[in-house]
Amino acid sequence: MYNWDFYAIFQSFDLFITGVWVTFLYTAGSIILGILVGLATCFARLSRFWWLRLIARSYQELFRCTPLLVQILWAYYALPMILGITISNTMAGLLTLSLYVGSFYSEIFRGGILAVDKGQREAAAAIGMSGVQSMRYIIMPQAVKNMLPSFINVSIMQLKNTSLLYVISIAELTYMTSVVTSETYRPLEAYSIAAILYFAMLFPLTQLADHFERRMRRSD
């Protein structure tokens, strides 16, 4: 029977705190950038210009059809070679995570917008709203409701995806856990704590999401 011993782990608990904080920062940063990229890509795909649609589509497929781990390694090691510049691990990590999640967000946004009945756009047009007004006041509020569940799912995944930044030595939770392990020789305890911390970060978020979703269903 394994003898669990958390003493050494708790001695280095500040390392976990750092890991949690860095994980949070990369998650929040890449979600915010991902939303911007996703919105731009979504509207590019809905555009009437074929070349915009083509660019958006190519980006989406490139990032959705390759593993995130490969993307991170490629951005950190291969991209600097090709461009002849140095890219910090922070930059490579944040950029890759943002573009990765943005490719999924863009499809969620697009689906949410397309799912709004076309009669809504016509009704908005019929009272004289411009395309932008109709999008802002009529289509988007309904689209957000459509897209919220998938958006939250992908965002939860995104927090967990930050653990892959471990391979380029970014001090997020998984990387910090490996640091704790090498200092304490207590991997089972360290990774158990890591799992609990990931859970503790995500569980309140899923509850909050449920709450918002219920509130948005008021009009049903």
Binding site: D117, E122, A123, A125, A126, I127, G128, M129, Q133, I138
Partner: protein, 253 residues
């Protein structure tokens, strides 16, 4: 009639969807205060015609004039032309499937146009919306969401939403076709009162007795053309052509 500028004129209007010609060279004048009934079999182009009048469909050829000004398919247009933005502020439309905004309350549905498009203040818009709701008999539903209304109530809200823009013309596209039979009456009653009040209207309808009752003129469309045109008496009560009689006979059971 000749010295009054028509509310809406249509000249040589054609509309195709791909190879399908839905409207073929339509000419039409709608006088201010006139209630024009558009009847005809499914696929005859009635709905497409009415949707061309506020540019929900862009005509393939021909022109639409609003109060003598050429309608442009652009949102903003240089005078003397009129853009779709201004046109739609002045021409209201009511749809078969209501198309109420499900995320907004009844009151917000009605005030969204006045506030967002006309730039009215909320207090002013709310007051007028409540007034309109009372007129359509739904004063107590201001805070309800559309999902909680019956079809007849939804359509009356949709009428109030269109009226809140203080339109000069109303386009009604089969507004009772999606309603349960027992709910048709309450909607027709509202439209009848608008007609009595002098509202200029074009109504696409399958309610022949209603058309006979409120319309000042009736057009029978067939295969994308105006086949017959005249007073409700001529068209609906004393049809002469074989086709029109055949069409009407299906509505008398």
């Amino acid at each position: 009639m000749t010295n009054i500028t028509p509310a809406i004129s249509v000249r040589g209007l054609c509309k195709s969807f791909g190879a399908l010609k839905v409207l073929k060279d339509i000419d039409l004048d709608l006088a201010p205060g006139e209630v024009l009934g558009l009847i005809g079999p499914s696929g005859s182009g009635k709905s497409t015609l009415i949707r061309c009048l506020n540019m929900l469909e862009t005509p393939t050829d021909g022109t639409v004039l609003f109060q003598g000004r050429i309608v442009s398919p652009k949102f903003h247009a240089k005078a003397p032309a009129i853009g779709t933005g201004e046109l739609r502020r002045k021409v209201g439309m009511i749809f078969q499937h209501f198309n109420l905004f499900p995320h907004l309350t009844v009151l917000e549905n009605i005030t969204s146009g006045p506030i967002r498009v006309l730039g009215e203040g909320r207090a002013e818009a709310d007051a007028y919306a409540l007034d309109l709701l009372a007129q359509v008999g739904l004063a107590d539903k201001a805070q309800a969401y559309p999902a909680h209304l019956s079809g007849g109530q939804k359509q009356r809200v949709a009428i109030a939403r269109a009226l809140a823009m203080r339109p000069e013309v109303l386009l009604l596209d089969e507004v009772t076709s999606a309603l349960d039979p027992e709910l048709v009456g309450e909607v027709l009653e509202v439209i009848r009162r608008l007609a009595i009040g002098g509202m200029t209207m074009v109504l696409v309808t399958h309610e022949m007795s209603f058309a006979a009752d409120v319309a000042s003129r009736v057009i029978f469309m067939e295969q994308g053309k105006i086949a017959e045109e005249g007073s409700p008496d001529q068209i609906l009560r004393n049809p002469t052509s074989e086709r029109l009689r055949g069409f009407l006979s299906r509505f008398h059971g």
